[in-house]
């Protein structure tokens, strides 16, 4: 399996992205910001298509759009978190813009049909070049380091905001920084599993870890581990089963692990 260079690229980039998703995802679920992740994942779609429609690289558009909207949502919401209805309204319109860009893109590049749009929506992890793999992995590592640096105060601020603030933790600034981090994660994961499916990679491993342990740092590590496992199994399944595209395979594994953890902890409580 690893003799193919596209599989090597998929595994390298997939692992790096999965670790980032698992780590960031844990705090996203803990802070109840899954909907924000959802919104930013759809923004990733618009950003990538906008860049394609106007002839930039898709990756530049991805990162620019997700980071800009992340900051916008943080600014609009209370305490740098974002309000449900505001988030919903902003990203409903962003999706509309994405549709406009898609139609501009498809009319300009009639030969490619809407394949470009589909790869943005559902990912193309088997199509990563060596350069793209290196970039994706580097960005993921840097983002993980940033996460590691702010994990402790961030956790404090998430669990008890008032006490954290009184102890001198810059809650608001951290909120903004974390939003940017979610934006970067969304843009990264779009390259692997696509804009529409990355939410699963954020939410499912984190929630699985939440069922397995109550200790936050252990849960973060577990969450990253579960995400990596999902990506590895998913990629392998997709390699072995010819009709199975990689991104749904990854998602199905992540959801199955979550369902198992959920059921087991239910049974144990009962």
């Amino acid at each position: 399996m690893f003799t193919h260079s596209f599989m090597q690229h998929a595994f390298i980039a997939g692992t790096a992205i999965a670790i980032l998703c698992g780590l960031v995802g844990y705090l996203v679920v803990l802070r109840g910001q899954v909907f924000t992740g959802d919104a930013l994942s759809h923004v990733a779609f618009t950003g990538a298509l906008g860049a394609l429609a106007f002839g930039f690289g898709a990756r530049a558009g991805l990162f620019a759009a997700t980071i800009a909207v992340a900051l916008l949502l943080a600014a609009l919401g209370p305490r740098g978190r974002g309000d449900d209805v505001v988030i919903g309204s902003v990203f409903a319109w962003t999706l509309g813009l994405g549709v406009l860009f898609l139609s501009i893109f498809t009319t300009r590049h009639a030969t490619q049909n809407s394949a470009g749009g589909v790869s943005v929506l559902f990912g193309s992890i088997f199509g990563l070049s060596a350069g793209a793999t290196l970039t994706a992995a580097t960005i993921a590592v840097v983002a993980c380091l940033v996460f590691a640096a702010i994990a402790r105060p961030m956790l404090f601020a998430s669990l008890d905001e008032a006490v954290a603030r009184s102890r001198g933790v810059p809650v608001r600034a951290l909120g903004y920084l974390f939003m940017v981090l979610i934006g970067v994660t969304a843009a990264e994961a779009t390259q692997a599993v696509g804009a529409l499916l990355l939410l699963g990679l954020l939410a499912a491993p984190a929630a699985t870890a939440g069922h397995l342990t109550a200790r936050p740092f252990r849960a973060m590590a577990l969450s990253a581990g579960v995400a990596v496992t999902s990506v590895w199994i998913g990629l392998t399944v997709s390699y072995v089963v010819p009709w199975m595209p990689p991104s749904p395979a990854i998602l199905f594994v992540a959801a199955a692990l979550y369902a198992t953890a959920f059921t087991v902890s239910r049974v144990r409580v009962a």
């Binding site: 679920v29 803990l30 802070r31 109840g32 899954v34 909907f35 992740g37 959802d38 759809h42 449900d84 209805v85 988030i87 919903g88 309204s89 409903a92 319109w93 999706l95 509309g96 813009l97 994405g98 549709v99 406009l100 898609l102 139609s103 501009i104 009319t107 049909n113 809407s114 394949a115 749009g117 589909v118 929506l121 559902f122 998430s158 669990l159 529409l196 499916l197 990355l198 939410l199 699963g200 990679l201 954020l202 939410a203 499912a204 984190a206 929630a207 939440g210 009709w243 199975m244 595209p245 991104s247 749904p248 998602l251 199905f252 992540a254 959801a255 979550y258």
Partner: protein, 288 residues
């Protein structure tokens, strides 16, 4: 007799031209039905802070339609079956109680991603008619048939009837669940019922706007109405008015321009929302 739609300065002629083709008449009928239902249900969705669930239910229509296409069943059944099932799954997960860990939103997020993944898989298995995929995701108002309009009308009537019957207790249960529960309102039952109706609404709207843009019609008119009025009756009326207006405007403009209807409807809706926020700000400043 296919002529290029052309905009003239004669507004009456332009509007009459809109009604020349039967498909536009059907599209306007379907759009109106969908807009009214989406506004009413959306208003309650925003009050109940279930925007995330609403968005997920909206997206579940996509794998439903894709599965129905794959099996050769009517797309309509796929939409309704999947959305109702998704609503039940979300409703069955307990609300996060004492812990801060937001289990509920994690479940919703996972359901959404799995549903979309399944939809993508079904479309791939169907040997990727990508235009079909984009119609499912982004909607098409061109092919609405008379039978479809009738089905939409029946479902919309059921949804509106549900709200007419349980509207008051539902509002009570949404605003203050514990007091409502103490007063003998069946809060859990209402929550499940509402989610199912929300799912059916999402399925219904999907057929016109596509799975990705349902959410715009659900949330934006409702959010606009909430910015303008806090009274339930007036708020719902405003939401319906805004929703119908943007749908008509969207259909009309989409007819004359090469750009998709989804873009126009979401843009007009967003403009209305931002306008209502601005208007509220001005009113507050004047009153101060």
């Amino acid at each position: 007799m296919l002529t290029e739609p052309r905009l003239t300065w004669n507004v009456i002629a332009d509007v009459r031209q809109l009604f020349d083709f039967p498909f536009m008449v059907n599209a306007l009928r379907a759009g109106t039905i969908v807009a009214v239902l989406a506004a009413v249900i959306g208003w309650f969705m925003v009050v109940r802070r279930q925007t995330f669930a609403g968005h997920t239910l909206a997206l579940i229509g996509f794998p439903g339609a894709a599965a129905a296409t794959l099996l050769g069943v009517g797309v309509l059944y796929g939409f309704f079956a999947f959305c109702a099932a998704g609503a039940l799954v979300i409703a069955l997960v307990p609300r996060s109680g004492s812990t801060r860990f937001s289990e509920e939103s994690a479940v919703i997020g996972t359901v959404q991603a799995v549903a979309l993944g399944a939809g993508f898989l079904f479309v791939t298995l169907y040997h990727g008619n990508l235009n079909g995929l984009s119609a499912l995701l982004f909607g098409s108002y061109l092919g609405v048939t008379g039978t479809q309009v009738t089905t939409l009308l029946i479902v919309a009537a059921c949804g509106t009837l549900f709200i007419a019957i349980v509207g008051r207790p539902l509002l009570f249960a949404s605003v203050d669940p514990s007091t409502a529960s103490a007063n003998g309102v069946p809060v859990t039952l209402l929550a499940v019922g509402f989610l199912v109706v929300l799912g059916l609404t999402a399925a219904e709207v999907s057929q016109i706007t596509g799975a990705l843009l349902v959410f715009a019609l659900l949330v934006l008119p409702a959010a606009t109405a909430q910015a303008l009025s806090t009274r339930p009756g007036r708020g719902i009326a405003i939401a319906v008015g805004v929703s119908v207006a943007i749908t008509w405007l969207g259909l009309g403009v989409a007819y004359y321009t090469p750009y998709p209807i989804g873009f126009w409807v979401t843009t007009f809706a967003f403009v209305a929302y931002v306008g209502s926020l601005g208007g509220r700000q001005i009113v507050r400043t004047v009153h101060r």
